[in-house]
């Protein structure tokens, strides 16, 4: 563990906030006309999966957690847990589903993920920026509604529903942005 100034908190790091590990999702700096600069930090509570926001003074001391990330393979989902396996030692590690909010449906056994550990306890999972998934269901093109003009919903092998261009067919392989779940391109 090391102490950093709140003004130096980085997106993607893990900090101890109210004695609980939190993953930093976003940092914005605000300099109000009166008063010192503040870091508005949006973070995920790694115990509950809930997102919280807190405004730190830039000079506040914050504990940054030393984490190790280990490359692992997705095995299966079991109730509230996702089971990952170390491909070298075959050791299996359960990770609570709530730590992968919105990303469970992007996991396939093909992709390599990094499980983040702090003192041997899994804190979270880091997916590659993009994953390749196969389309298992795609309707014929229909006129899109106004907000999604030129797009249609297709279902991926993992159950993920993606808004994709009208030309996408069943069997296509798509590249998906794991931070948003959005279609990026066709990569057949």
């Amino acid at each position: 563990m090391s102490t950093v100034k709140a003004g130096n908190i980085k997106k993607g790091s893990y900090i101890l906030y109210r004695s609980v590990p939190h993953y930093v999702l976003r940092v914005n700096f605000i300099s109000p006309g009166k008063g010192s600069a503040f870091a508005k930090v949006k973070m995920r509570d790694m115990r509950t999966g809930a997102n919280v926001e807190f405004n730190f003074k830039s000079h506040d001391n914050v504990e940054e957690l030393d984490v190790q990330s280990k490359e692992m393979q997705f095995l299966y989902k079991s109730g509230d847990e996702i089971i990952f396996m170390d491909p070298n030692s075959y050791e299996q590690v359960p990770v609570p589903v709530k730590l992968l909010e919105g990303q469970v449906e992007m996991l396939s056994s093909e992709i390599k993920v990094y499980v983040i550990f702090h003192e041997d306890k899994a804190l979270g999972v880091s997916l590659p920026p993009k994953v390749k998934l196969k389309v298992v269901k795609a309707e014929e093109a229909v006129a899109g509604d106004r907000q999604t003009a030129g797009k249609k919903a297709v279902i991926m092998e993992t159950g993920l529903v993606v808004q994709a261009p009208l030309f996408i067919k069943k069997g296509d392989v798509l590249s998906i942005d794991t931070s948003t779940g959005d279609y990026v391109s066709r990569v057949n």
Binding site: G33, K34, K57
Partner: protein, 364 residues
């Protein structure tokens, strides 16, 4: 990543969303025209920008024809020049211009260069400005409804589905712009949300204890201003964001209002207000401080603080002090973030979606 101008080539809806800016600005001009205000233009490149201790400015050099140079800055607000125009005899003025703030985040509610609307009324105070602001919001909403009713497009339908009479849907929630706005003093909001009275609010140790109780990371020597603002940001702003209408927060503790007039009946507070809507801080207003001596003292101490904080320093705007010395009428004035108004009416959460060329695209 596609840039906004590239997205415009493919997406008519996106293009029309960016063009909402034009309609909002037209509505603002029409409003002030009807109110018989003069539109003025003052320099963006100045010798003495605002002294707010925590705002960083853009510094440059101005060279004459012999290449002799002197420091010059992009302003953070056109306030000083507009007040000189009040002294010059103009009594109702407004300006829509760019302002610049350095060392801030790109995106969300901030862009290093942004569009500011300021207006000033002589022989008026901040209460009159509160009234102006609320009527302006309703006026913009109604002008947009009139305009988009004549347009056949998906975007026009989208706007008309969100703007109905006095109501505006923003990010899934409906806000009522009906007059009059709810008004609460700073002391009242602290009493309501943090259960402390006005005396405790001004007591640094009391705020320290409150922050400690909330488990804030704290150093021993935290200042009253920092504690005040941190409690406001964490405990009060989120509550204000839950309201389904605009709210005016007024009468700030004196140290939070360097350009505002003290309250006659309670000099611990100054006549400043901020207006919040949907979690957006839309405007900051004062009954203007017109006492030249007090103004000079406050600006000097701010410049000293800037030096201590290692921010750019510059000379005090003596011309501004000279103007006050000549006699500025009692006045009220306000600065409004135009980009944020546009975000609200466009229904977007990120300023980068209402700028043709966000700084993020250029510099990051």
């Amino acid at each position: 990543m596609q840039k906004n101008w590239q997205k415009m080539r493919q997406n008519q809806f996106f293009t029309e969303k960016l063009l909402l800016r034009e309609q909002v600005i037209k509505a603002i001009r029409k409003f002030f025209d009807q109110e018989k205000f003069h539109e003025v233009e003052t320099p963006l490149l100045v010798k003495s920008p605002g002294t707010e201790p925590y705002l960083e400015v853009f510094s440059t050099k101005l060279k004459d024809e012999h290449a002799n140079s002197q420091p010059a800055y992009l302003l953070t607000s056109p306030e000083y020049a507009m007040k000189k125009l009040l002294v010059a005899g103009l009594d109702k003025i407004y300006q829509i211009c760019k302002s610049f703030r350095n060392q801030e985040s790109f995106g969300n509610n901030h862009n290093p260069e942004f569009t500011i609307l300021e207006w000033y009324r002589a022989s008026a105070d901040y209460k009159k400005i509160m009234d102006d602001f609320s009527r302006l919001m309703l006026f913009i909403s109604s002008e947009l409804q009139n305009y988009y009713q004549e347009i056949e497009s998906d975007f026009a339908d989208y706007i008309l589905s969100r703007l109905k009479n006095n109501q505006v849907e923003y990010l899934g929630k409906i806000y009522n712009l009906q007059l009059p706005y709810q008004r609460m003093t700073v002391a009242e909001v602290f009493a309501q949300y943090l259960k402390i009275n006005d005396q405790e609010l001004l007591d640094r140790d009391k705020l320290y204890n409150l922050a400690q109780k909330q488990d804030y990371p704290l150093a021993k020597e935290e200042s009253w201003d920092d504690l005040f603002y941190q409690l406001f940001l964490n405990e009060i702003e989120p509550e204000l964001a839950k309201l389904d209408h605009p709210v005016i927060i007024y009468d700030y503790p004196l140290s939070q209002a360097a350009l505002a007039k003290k309250k006659k009946d309670d000099p611990r507070f100054a006549e400043r207000f901020e207006v919040y809507l949907a979690g957006l801080e839309l405007g900051n207003a004062f009954s203007e401080l017109i006492d030249y001596q007090e103004q000079e003292d406050r600006l000097k101490s701010e410049l000293l603080l800037r030096k201590k904080l290692k921010k750019s320093t510059y000379t005090l705007d003596q011309d501004f002090i000279a103007a006050l010395k000549l006699g500025m009428p009692e006045s009220g004035g306000i600065a409004v973030g135009v980009d944020r108004l546009i975000m609200f009416f466009a229904g977007v959460a990120d300023i980068n979606e209402v700028l043709f060329f966000p700084a993020l695209e250029i510099f990051k």
